[in-house]
């Protein structure tokens, strides 16, 4: 009999995989279809689209690329539809496909859209390099925000206060940079601001067991009120405390001169490079190190962690403060990294998009990066299409990240499983 019970698998667990989820594949199919009808066929026969990628400083110049609009957009849409078909097949076969599928799908649809938007516009090129560069730049606060959310939630604390952490980071960066006359001092101050908001979240959520969503929401209001108030009083009375300070560009030697990749990835200010390092370090630490193992244990089963001597609440407090600091650093994007003075509510909901990127990225730094890049790209696209005078109302493009998020949480939920102890205060 012992052989029977020694089977390492629960009864009936081997034969069936998770319930089929159709929302994802169907959504992809619909988007692919829209792409096919509107962008593919809609590009109109005979039109041409010109893509340009080059800059003068490159090692060598890549000529502009002119393609027949309808054919290209249609072809890209067909690729997207094929990928949707693959997703349907995978669902039927109960197989899971890697993260490459949504990424390639998105690239195909976006390519189709760009081809359509640039169709028949003599003299107006689709600026690929510019588009990708601004996608990276616009994703900065989203990446930092999503990393913050990931760190907090992996330890079991929901961080809705990302928005407030970004905003306070932006505020203090501007204030300190202006007061010291050094943008880098602002870059140092930003994480401190975020950490402060994180510490408040930690105190209320971990020590006083206040509902984490409540604290987060209220902290956002507090930071908006506080920064707007100081903006309207302290900064108004002393304009020298809120000046446009800029970090300045630090092109990476050699690498920054590679066509496309150079300007897109290696010709930025310090914050972008810090972002690269942060993502890589956090990803490794979270999944390979002792610290990461303990953090994840605390977020999944705090009592189990406690019984092996891990201090649950201490871990949570540290993570939330660290997460706050990271989001605060992302806040520096709005002021010292962008070379702007502080403005009222200037984060404009980016913290919530970061939250969405965290969910879409399945609570992993790598995933958060990909999702944030996707949203950054959508934003960059909105700007580029605005410049090109696209027929799509800018409001609809503005909605894109929000719609994508709703689609993601509604369609992909179940495949994305949050840490089990998330949102629950740990009481012995």
């Amino acid at each position: 009999m012992t052989t029977l019970v020694d089977a390492p698998v629960t009864p009936a667990a081997d034969d069936a995989s998770a319930r089929r989820r159709w929302a994802g594949p169907i959504g992809l199919g619909l988007i692919g279809l829209v792409s096919f009808i509107f962008f593919g066929i809609g590009s109109g026969g005979g039109n041409e689209t010109t893509f340009s990628v080059a800059r003068q400083s490159d090692f060598f110049t890549i000529p502009t690329l002119t393609v027949p609009s309808q054919l290209t957009a249609t072809a890209l849409s067909v690729i997207a539809l094929a990928l949707a078909g693959l997703a349907v097949w995978a669902t039927l076969q109960r197989r899971t496909l890697g993260w490459w599928l949504p990424v390639v799908f998105t690239i195909a649809v976006m390519g189709s859209l760009l081809t359509w938007a640039g169709a028949g516009r003599e003299g107006t090129n689709v600026q690929i390099t510019g588009l990708l560069t601004s996608a990276i730049v616009l994703s900065i606060p989203l990446v930092f925000g999503a990393l913050s959310g990931t760190l907090c939630e992996r330890s079991g604390v929901i961080n809705i206060a990302i928005e407030g952490q970004l905003l306070f980071g932006a505020f203090l960066a501007a204030l300190v940079a202006s007061a010291t006359g050094n943008a880098y001092a602002g870059l140092v101050a930003a994480p401190l601001a975020g950490a402060l908001v994180g510490a408040l979240l930690a105190i209320f959520a971990v020590k006083y067991w206040v509902d984490q969503i409540v604290v987060g929401v209220v902290l956002n209001v507090l930071v908006i009120g506080l920064t707007s108030f100081l903006f309207g009083s302290l900064m108004r009375d002393n304009p020298n405390l809120n000046q446009s300070m800029s970090l300045g560009r630090l092109p990476v030697p050699v690498l920054s001169e590679i066509p496309i990749i150079g300007p897109v990835l290696f010709n930025h200010n310090a914050l972008v490079y810090i972002m690269y390092v942060t993502v890589i370090v956090l990803h490794i630490m979270l999944f390979k190190s002792r610290w990461g193992l303990r953090v994840r244990a605390v977020g999944e089963h705090p009592k189990a962690a406690d019984t092996v001597g891990i201090k649950v609440n201490r871990t949570r407090v540290r993570n939330v403060i660290l997460g706050g600091a990271i989001a605060g650093l992302g806040g520096a994007f709005f002021t010292v990294a962008a070379g702007l003075a502080f403005g009222k509510e200037m984060t404009a909901g980016k913290g919530f998009i970061a939250l969405a990127a965290m969910i879409l990225g399945r609570w992993s730094p790598k995933g958060a990066l990909l999702a944030a890049l996707l949203f950054g790209f959508a934003d960059a696209l909105r700007l580029q299409l605005g410049i090109m005078g696209s027929p799509i109302p800018s409001q609809f493009l503005g909605m894109l990240p929000y719609l994508a998020t709703i689609f993601a949480v509604a369609g992909l939920v179940g495949f994305a499983k949050p840490p089990a102890a998330e949102g629950k205060p740990y009481k012995k």
């Binding site: 206040v210 209220v218 707007s228 309207g232 009083s233 939250l355 509604a410 009481k427």
Partner: protein, 415 residues
């Protein structure tokens, strides 16, 4: 169940809100005092007090007259304290005069105008707060009142300016439009939650931004544009669709306020006395048990969100048909977000929400006066508001700050 879980159940069931057992609570005066100091009400009062104090401190610290005196604080500290005192008294006087009674007024009719303004501002807060509170009771953290107000106001505005209907009927149809608009915007997250499990916090946040984009888009189209204007604002709604002013044209207070009070009564009945409310509360407190007892949790989620959206839509009607009379992208101001703090401060109870809305309405109503007379940015209101909610959410913090005795059960929970 093991002993350990049995005992932790005991302690956690005695949540921070329940009182100590009667045997333990001593006698007579001592007992009375303990009950008062341990009650929620006292915590609320002290939380408001502490938040006002901190808010005042912030104003003082950011005030340029006060800051000027700090430069020579050690040579003439008296100037510093005089400046602090001057700023504080001017702030609190202005708040009182801006929100309750204008003591400078020539007669009572003018003097009470600030108070009627407080009631007017409180109206959308009550309505949206009721919607959110209803959601909280059913375990739904609906952050979407902002979007629901916007969509409700958009529909109501369209009915108001584009349709031509007889008196009374026009108002009714416009109100119904607001309610429907809000209800639809509430239905979406409710439906998504029920069908796919999508977390309502995320979906409602996103729907707020979508609503904002939608109204901006609408206002860029001729159907919503005011003729002869390039600004993104709609034509004025017809007078037939406006809420009547209940104290005459000298005051802004409109019928929507009475509607809000009626809605508070209605929501109380719904929650406490109806079978729907019984289901809402059961699902909110323990969805598993509610489901096992035969309730449809999905149906409750949808119903609650639709009702909450409808109430937020009513709040939108107070804005568009009561005070604004013309649609702009800022029609909801920040009422949807303020309503979250209202519902939290009111502990999701209708009566509590009415009082919380009056308090925050008063703070808001005092805003313009603060800005103009005391030179204090109106945003201080947000700071005070959020501090109040933070303090109330953590009674032990307030008790520590003011050295109030801890209720008997706290030891138990801490153990």
């Amino acid at each position: 169940m093991s002993e350990s879980t049995a005992t932790t159940d005991r302690s956690s069931a005695d949540g921070p809100e329940s009182e100590g057992s009667p045997e333990e609570a001593g006698r007579d005066f001592g007992r009375l005092m303990r009950e008062i100091t341990q009650s929620d009400l006292l915590v609320v009062v002290f939380a408001i007090f502490a938040a006002m104090l901190l808010g005042g401190l912030l104003v003082v610290l950011a005030d340029k007259d006060v800051l000027a005196t700090t430069g020579y604080f050690f040579s003439r500290p008296g100037d510093f304290f005089a400046a602090v005192g001057g700023t504080l008294s001017s702030v609190f006087t202005t708040m009182f005069q801006g929100a309750i009674y204008n003591t400078n007024a020539s007669d009572v009719a003018v003097g009470i105008r600030p108070f009627t303004q407080t009631l007017t501002v409180a109206t959308p807060l009550i309505l949206a707060g009721l919607g959110l509170g209803l959601g909280f009771r059913a375990g739904l953290f609906n952050i979407g009142a902002q979007g629901q107000i916007i969509i409700g106001a958009t529909v109501g505005a369209y009915v108001g300016f584009a349709w031509d209907l007889p008196v009374v009927l026009h108002l009714i149809v416009a109100v119904v439009g607001c309610v429907l608009g809000g209800a639809i915007w509430g239905f979406i997250p409710g439906f998504l939650k029920a069908r796919t499990g999508a977390h309502e916090v995320i979906t409602t946040i996103m729907l707020n931004y979508i609503a904002l984009n939608l109204v901006s888009f609408a206002l860029s189209k001729t159907a919503f544009q005011r003729p002869g204007s390039t600004n993104p604002q709609s034509p004025l709604i017809a007078e037939t669709a406006e809420y009547p002013l209940i104290l005459g044209s000298a005051y802004n207070l409109h019928l929507g306020f009475l509607l809000a009070l009626a809605a508070a009564g209605g929501v109380w009945w719904l929650l406490e006395r109806s079978t729907w409310g019984f289901q809402f509360r059961a699902v909110g407190a323990n969805p598993h048990a509610a489901r096992t007892a035969g309730m449809s949790v999905s149906k409750v989620y949808i119903l609650v969100m639709v009702t909450a959206g409808a109430l937020a839509g009513l709040a939108g009607s107070a804005q568009i048909l009561g005070t604004e009379h013309s649609l702009t992208a800022g029609v909801a101001a920040s009422f949807g977000f303020d309503a979250i703090t209202v519902a939290l401060l009111g502990r999701s109870r209708p009566l509590g929400i009415v009082f919380a809305a009056l308090l925050f309405g008063a703070l808001r109503a005092a805003g313009p006066a603060l800005q103009v007379q005391a030179g204090v940015p109106v945003d201080i209101v947000l700071v005070i508001q959020s501090l109040i909610v933070l303090f109330i959410a953590a009674p032990p913090l307030v008790r520590t700050m003011f050295r109030l005795p801890a209720p008997a059960h706290v030891k138990e929970v801490a153990a």
